[in-house]
Symmetry: C2
Subunit: 215 residues, 2 copies
């Protein structure tokens, strides 16, 4: 099976290691599947041919011999379906994996982004510091709920699944923030996820792309 994922040829240092193709790379590494890169540079993400594949001009987009799709959450769910290691073992497990992938992307990630993105993209503007405590409160509520779920659990759904890939890459955005550090169980969960050899492999692969294509 020939698999291709899209990735940016290069991004500024603050984003290196955090671009969302790391999710697809991680799932592929867990599944033991090789892949080709479709690298985007010089505004290629805004060209009509790429928008026909990824309508929002983001990465990753994914293609194999059967399907073509976008959105990292949908991509890792598809990769799981190709893998003995990652495939759901029952309808209930499949439903829970899908629920947790979407929970990470819809119930947690927007709260993470509201905490960290304003300081990056709007540094110095007055509203940023006034907005921050609200953003922190909303994320704290979600992390408290997540911590409640993790009680007695090592992984979101019984064993390591692609839902953990999405949740770990979401939480990683606030790894150094007090709001996460307030939950030692979530810190331990994140450490457990990031200790997996497949994560290291995915991170190295993303960083290697940027090294090779540095301007």
């Amino acid at each position: 099976m020939t698999i291709t994922i899209s990735a940016f040829a290069w991004v500024p240092p603050f984003a290196q290691g955090y671009v969302k193709d790391i999710r697809a790379r991680w799932a592929l590494a867990e599944a033991g599947l090789d892949y080709n890169l479709h690298l985007l540079s010089d505004g290629a993400q805004d060209q009509p041919d790429y928008r026909a594949w990824q309508p929002f001009g983001q990465v990753p987009a994914y293609r194999d011999e059967t399907v073509e799709l976008f959105e990292s959450g949908a991509i890792v769910l598809h990769i799981a379906s190709l893998s003995d290691a990652l495939a759901p073992r029952s309808k209930q497990e499949a439903a829970q994996i899908q629920a947790w992938v979407i929970a990470a992307l819809n119930s947690v990630e927007p709260k993470v982004e509201n905490l960290i993105l304003p300081a990056i993209f709007h540094a110095g503007e007055a509203w940023v510091s006034e907005f921050r405590p609200h953003a922190e409160n909303l994320l704290a509520l979600r992390l408290k709920s997540l911590s409640g779920w993790m009680k007695g659990r090592d992984w979101l759904v019984g064993r390591f699944t692609v839902a953990d890939i999405i949740m770990a890459t979401v939480l990683r955005g606030v790894q150094a923030e007090p709001v996460l550090q307030d939950h030692p169980d979530l810190v331990a969960y994140l450490d457990r996820c990031l200790a997996r050899p497949a994560f290291k492999k995915a991170l190295d692969a993303q960083l290697d792309t940027f090294t090779k294509n540095a301007p």
Copy 2:
């Protein structure tokens, strides 16, 4: 098949008709499936038994004889799998439906919520008006991309699917905003979605719940 979804017994008027169980109700109406309600009142969403079903205390949660899950996006994807009318007709269609459900929830809905929620929950605070143009710009970019995708299309994926249910309920949050009105094609798409008899049925059902349980 006995299907149960959770819903709030009552919410304040500004939220009536917009609570996310409308997504599950809509999909079930399209599928021609009946359902029971598990109604939450008096803080029931914070009780351990509900958190074991819906870890974040939100609605809807879903249960049938085979699976139990949460997150409206995952629930409508599951409902689609039960229905001759909504089930994907190929692997490519399934992948695209999943991609668009997640795109609506991760790439569009957070931008919609940042535009409308601050004015509701933080009315009068200084940062709200300063944040608004940034929120509007970010949503405008996503709507421009979505409009680009919709060119020549009536629905996100070939025919009406549960992806349209999620996208329509997301866009409905900014139905009256200039940022959506700037795209007549998206206004027409939203109108096309909301004209479906199953949407009307879902909306009436949600409003009926609140009428019956008004405090």
